[in-house]
Symmetry: C2
Subunit: 254 residues, 2 copies
Amino acid sequence: MKFKDYIASVSRSRGSRIILALDLSMLPRDEGFWSLKERAMKILSLVSQYICAVKINMQLLLPLGLYGGVSDIVDLAHDLGIPAIIDCKLSDVGHTNLWATKHYFEAGFDAIIVNPMVGWSEGVEPVFEVAKEYGGRGVILLTYMSHKASPESYELPVYVEGGFKPLYMLFAERALKWGADGVVVGATYPEKIREVKKLLGDYIPIYTPGVGFQGGDVKNCLDAGSEYFIVGRAIFQADEPEVAAKRFRDVSWV
Amino acid sequence: MKFKDYIASVSRSRGSRIILALDLSMLPRDEGFWSLKERAMKILSLVSQYICAVKINMQLLLPLGLYGGVSDIVDLAHDLGIPAIIDCKLSDVGHTNLWATKHYFEAGFDAIIVNPMVGWSEGVEPVFEVAKEYGGRGVILLTYMSHKASPESYELPVYVEGGFKPLYMLFAERALKWGADGVVVGATYPEKIREVKKLLGDYIPIYTPGVGFQGGDVKNCLDAGSEYFIVGRAIFQADEPEVAAKRFRDVSWV
């Protein structure tokens, strides 16, 4: 099954559009560092019935490693019936992108987040090729990020084909042209979600981080056209992660 | 010692501007995978007298892991008297950038390569702060990449402060404004090196990948203003890596 259909079916069956960003953050010298993986797996198990995917980033990848590290969390996700996304924001030249993508898919990840800034040829083309080779894994493109400085770059007016457009709309167009399985647009900029949704329609779902701690609101973004919501600290730092996850799930599915 | 001075002093003392990109590439199912680290360390030892730094990317980081994985290669680099750069092209929001940077520096890396696309506030600002905390580690910004599709994004004319400029010049300006320790401009676009050099003068050195396999030429780029040359496959895939490294060193230092 193609990733886009896989996550959509999990989302429907659980009535949830919530993706858990499992970004527990510790250094080796911190107390409890050696049980980091176990805690991450415990949280994932606790909340799994309320989410449609788990997303892993450098906070876990770097201390735990890939093979035998976060790959165990990916295996657990699959046992729990949900896909796993690696949020590496890949942003390199072709041969490095190719190898990074292969490693992530070998370790079991179902989708990868990529920076469209590098362009197609010798850029993201190998990522799409490897995703196909591995039986329809997902490629999700950064389009408008959720942090404060995001407008500094993403809103730059660029001159292409005889007219102006903001850089993020060019990235959204690339997603269509390249056949991406999703785009990332931050919850903190709901008007951008609306604009990107107008272009992508029902072809490419919008993944929205920045909900909760960063101030984004699920209801607003749902109205604007987001399909999935990425929530991290507001779930895993809660006293009862499963209660927090359920609350997010309930507002995400109306 | 600040990173910029550290690498400059190693470069002077060895008469080399060559940075080894140690991008050995294998999957776990490939024969010889379990000796990947040993082979990487052997190559580094063989060529160390001819290079001024080693650069590590996803090809080694993902299979070997960070702590107890590539951190052993970083330790070896330090024993051999050369700094180690992590080429993660960090491209995330502030709290992820913060944690990734901390992990890389905890593991011993002396400098980190970052994507200026994310902007300052809640973007690369935490990277610069952590670099300072860890005693003057280096922050190097992507400015113009070496691959075929690079112009697709980096040459986009952007409209800022009442005028047009290509996106890469905006990134070069950010390097100046943010006080970066280096910028990356691909060897395959020597005219861009010249243009960036005109802006940065002697304040910020230019790091140039794409020499050798990707077709870039050291002599051209040296004339154009590059300070350091990043060479990977043309060295480590050579029958005698030390001979190849020496040859690159000799043309880099005139």
